[in-house]
């Protein structure tokens, strides 16, 4: 475990150096070592935290960084999202699919500063259905990508936001 997490903390250190929290991070990384090792339990190819994908500005780059391929729209991916979100800080979105061999489900918001919001790994035996709550900076398309049988399928829906979730 320490190999993966030391790798992370090196990257974190780079990211957060400006904040002057290096000492804190060192402490945090030490604590992080006690945590579980997702690699042992889950031996898929993309089992590491996708740091690069989360840094991408637009959804196409994020999907590419995450999966290395592009998604095709599919009506087998069903997204449940509000038409209008009064509070962009908390937008409930859920997705379910009738596709088989689902290995991951990801949520992206086009107009957010970083498009990728969340990516869920779905091991065999887990139901391909996820509900969560995400932040939206403004009115935007929400894109859900389902990886099934090695291919990517997506669903897109526009959610109107009256009060943005990234302006504080």
């Amino acid at each position: 475990m320490s190999i993966t997490h030391n790798g992370f903390s090196a990257q974190r250190r780079l990211v957060l150096k400006g904040a002057g929290t290096v000492a804190l991070i060192g402490l945090g990384a030490g604590l992080g070592v006690i945590a579980f090792d997702p690699r042992q339990a889950f031996a898929a190819a993309n089992d590491k935290y996708p740091e690069e994908a989360f840094k991408q500005k637009n959804e196409a780059d994020a999907i590419k960084a995450l999966y290395g391929k592009t998604a095709e729209p599919s009506d087998k991916v069903k997204m449940d999202a509000p038409e209008i979100a009064e509070n962009g800080a908390v937008v409930p979105i859920s997705v379910t699919t009738t596709l088989e061999d689902v290995t991951s489900i990801s949520f992206l918001v086009s107009e957010n500063p970083n498009a990728l919001v969340a990516s869920y790994k779905i091991p065999a035996g887990t139901v391909p259905s996820v509900a969560n709550r995400i932040k939206m900076a403004k009115t935007s398309n929400v894109i859900v990508v389902v990886e099934a049988g090695g291919k990517l399928y997506s669903a897109t829906k526009e959610v109107k936001v009256t009060v943005g979730g990234c302006g504080g």
């Binding site: 339990a41 970083n114 869920y120 790994k121 887990t126 139901v127």
Partner: protein, 103 residues
């Protein structure tokens, strides 16, 4: 300290439905405070649910997940009274773990 993780796992005999609510600021690093200073990014990166020694669900999160995040999923199997282990690690390396009994 009380756990930051609240989890409810309910088995209907066939599948186990899991709902989790975690206390965490989930600061994206794009928001400014009242003085106009950027609030540094501080968010959970990985959240893992383990049953019977195997990961049944892994969440990779960015700063775009809402404060005090909520997630719901379900997996096949899972017996009443068995343990479900939940743990997270954030971008500052902090971590928390809890174990819930499937109901």
């Amino acid at each position: 300290m009380a756990s930051t993780i609240r989890v409810r796992a309910t088995s209907n005999g066939d599948t186990t439905e899991v709902q989790a609510l975690i206390q965490h600021p989930m600061d994206s690093g794009f928001v400014k405070d009242a003085k106009g200073d950027i609030i540094p990014a501080h968010f959970i990166q990985e959240l893992t649910f383990e049953y019977d020694g195997k990961a049944v669900f892994v969440a990779d999160w960015g700063g775009g997940v809402s404060k005090d995040p909520y997630v719901k999923f379900a997996f096949k199997g899972g017996k009443k009274g068995d343990d479900l282990k939940v743990s997270w690690v954030d971008n500052k390396g902090a971590t928390d773990t809890t174990t819930a009994k499937i109901q």
